[in-house]
């Protein structure tokens, strides 16, 4: 850029900032392409590889997992919690549906003594608690299970969007990786409450689809799921891979 153009641009920027404030226009911080984005590994090597530009679940950004029931969504979330705990992160599980299974979580290697389980009474309360916990910078990972339960609030869905809008701001100075679980209906339809623009705010969106059961002889030993990156603001999207979840006593995630 020539010096004349640079001068004109600088004066325009300073004029805008003078009129609307410093925050309205800022120069983006340059980030080297090779610099590693702060992230939590998923526990599945091939999934980490297709999350290009990140290498896992990004910290300080919203992540959304989508899938039908029994697609491995909750298992993947618990594996991420276990991975986060392995690097000394504290985890919280917002259990709106009261479906959290401690035994299954323990089998996914989650350290239950370092897991805060929250059972809010409404969707708005859940988002407020999530906001407070993220803002405290006292969490490494937060699982929001699930978006479908957000409709259950007494004040309707009107209060949800303003809180969601604030989350990226508080996340900007937090090491937390909030993961929203969004169940899909049998015909793959989304079940967001009205005006809840989670897909817009999410940095990474992963869709899980169960492909087949895994057998050993006549016994089911697990299942294989396809994970598709349907959105990645920090790298290439539309990549997919397969993960295998075996549950012979201990839930073990294997890459296939």
């Amino acid at each position: 850029m020539s010096s004349k153009k640079r001068k004109r641009l600088d004066s325009a920027v300073s004029a805008i900032q003078q009129k609307w404030g410093l925050q309205v226009i800022r120069q983006g911080a340059s980030r080297g392409l090779t610099a590693e984005f702060p992230h939590i590994p998923t526990g599945f090597q091939n999934l980490d590889q297709i999350l290009t530009g990140i290498g896992g679940i990004p910290r300080g950004r919203l992540t959304e997992l989508l899938g039908t029931p029994t697609s491995g969504m909750a298992t993947l979330a618990l594996k991420i919690v276990a991975e986060a705990q392995a690097v000394k992160d504290v985890a919280a599980y917002l259990d709106l549906g009261a479906t959290f299974d401690p035994d299954y979580a323990a089998r996914c290697h989650v350290n239950l003594s370092k897991l805060l389980l929250v059972r809010p009474h409404s969707g708005a309360e859940a988002l407020e608690i999530a906001h407070s916990l993220i803002n405290s910078r006292g969490l490494g990972v937060l699982i929001f299970d699930s978006v479908a339960q957000l409709r259950a609030g007494p004040l309707g869905t009107e209060t949800l969007s303003p809180i969601l809008r604030q989350l990226p701001q508080v996340l900007a100075h937090s090491p937390c990786a909030p993961i929203f679980l969004t169940p899909l209906s049998a015909n793959q339809e989304l079940v967001y409450p009205g005006s809840f623009a989670l897909p817009d705010y999410a940095t990474v969106r992963l869709r899980l689809t169960k492909e087949r059961w895994l057998y050993r002889g006549d016994d089911v030993r697990g299942y294989e799921a396809q994970v598709q990156v349907i959105k990645n603001k920090l790298g290439a999207a539309n990549k997919s891979t397969r993960i295998a979840i075996t549950f012979n006593g201990v839930v073990k995630g294997d890459s296939t």
Binding site: A106, K114, L116, L117, H121
Partner: protein, 399 residues
């Protein structure tokens, strides 16, 4: 594979550890509660002289004038047994004590072992018992309990015998039929029939045994042929561990009582460590001078066996006491005992900064939204059959 561990001189070995003067001398243990004038147990040196358990003490003293007579001390055997369990627990948690007293016999379920593994395992087992508990075990390893027991009985202390799978019948054939669990009548009938060895018994048709001796006969026939599918049954866990301390003079000073409670907590923690158990229900009972008692119970949020936590809780319980007269005894008991659950050791402190920050915000959130929103999953019964019973959600204010 099942290992049978026989310790023929268990009581003598335990008492010898506590008294170095008995290290090399022959001695007898007398005064059992059932037969006050009889020898309860003997040292290996006394056996060489010809003294046997059950013999009158006077006869033993005639055989060996000046032999040491040591009083029977069952509480020492109990603590020795718990130490032995702690050693064996390193190999398997499935341990069935069949006999603990003058001698000891235990069964260990070692699961499936590779072909070369048994020799190393038996060596390690014997070495661990010798080094850590100072006892001399005879170890037998076989596919079933009975062949393992016979194998252990056929060797001297500090020796082992391994019966390869499929070789049980051959191994048992020359052994005496009296090794079977027989009552006197059945033993006499076998004697009359000329059945002296297990091989002779095994050679009989199973139908004939069933006709002649009934279901028990068929079972003994199977044992003689080396088939024993009885599982190793672990000993049921005690539900409560209790300590009582009595005082010569009644104590009314709260500071002294508190110090006594702390001592009891340390002692209780030590016992729990040996038993490898933790508990939740802490009960403090003060026995008062006016022959009444004062009891308070505290249900701990998380099961523990740590002296510090027990001591803290006892102090809180004692603070509730309104002592009107002197205390003559204190009883501390810990209930709802469960085995110590596996815990991953941490090289570094967990969370650190994150945990501190969460600790700051969580009480505010609890105050705002209520206690029954924030939980922690606690392991309550890790061995419960139903997965739902293994954990319990406990309201929390801090991680």
């Amino acid at each position: 594979m099942i290992a049978a561990v026989n310790i023929p001189y268990f009581a003598a070995g335990i008492l010898r550890q506590g008294n170095p003067l008995l290290a090399t001398l022959p001695f007898i243990i007398g005064e059992p509660p059932q037969a006050p004038e009889r020898v309860y147990a003997v040292s290996p040196e006394a056996v060489e002289i010809g003294i046997r358990p059950g013999m009158p003490v006077r006869q033993a003293q005639v055989l060996c004038p000046g032999i040491h007579l040591v009083p029977n001390q069952p509480h020492h055997y109990h603590s020795g047994y718990t130490e032995l369990l702690a050693v064996l627990d390193q190999f398997t948690p499935v341990i069935e004590p069949e006999q603990i007293g003058a001698s000891a016999r235990l069964y260990l379920d070692l699961g499936t072992l590779p072909l070369k593994k048994p020799v190393e395992l038996v060596k390690a087992l014997g070495q661990a018992i010798r080094e850590k508990s100072g006892l001399a075990p005879a170890v037998g390893l076989a596919k079933g309990k009975f062949p393992a027991h016979v194998a252990a009985s056929s060797v001297k202390p500090n020796r082992a015998s391994i019966v390869s799978p499929g070789q049980e019948a051959i191994f048992l054939a020359p052994r005496a039929v009296t090794l079977l669990p027989l009552d006197q009548e059945l033993a006499y009938r076998f004697h009359l029939l000329g059945l002296r060895t297990l091989g002779q018994l095994a050679a009989l048709p199973a139908g004939a045994m069933l006709t002649q001796f009934g279901v028990q006969g068929r079972w003994l026939h199977q044992l003689a042929r080396g088939y024993d599918d009885r599982p190793v049954k672990p000993q049921p866990l005690p539900t409560t561990e209790q300590i009582t301390r009595r005082f010569d003079d009644a104590i009314a000073n709260r500071l002294i009582l508190n110090a006594q409670c702390q001592n009891l907590a340390a002692e209780l923690a030590q016992r729990l460590q040996i038993l490898r158990q933790i508990g939740r229900e802490l009960r403090l009972t003060l026995h008062l001078e006016n022959e009444t008692t004062w009891t308070r119970v505290r249900l701990l949020r998380q099961a523990t066996g740590q002296a510090e936590r027990l001591s803290e809780s006892l102090t809180l319980l004692l603070d509730q006491a309104r002592i009107s007269c002197g205390v003559v005894a204190i009883t501390v008991s810990l209930g709802e005992l469960s085995p110590v659950s596996g815990e991953q050791l941490e090289l570094f402190t967990f969370g650190g900064e994150q945990e501190r920050r969460l600790g700051e915000v969580l009480p505010h959130l609890v105050a705002r939204y209520g206690e029954h929103r924030f939980y922690q999953a606690l392991v309550t019964s890790p061995l419960a059959t139903l997965p739902e019973a293994r954990f319990q959600l406990q309201p929390t204010r801090n991680l």
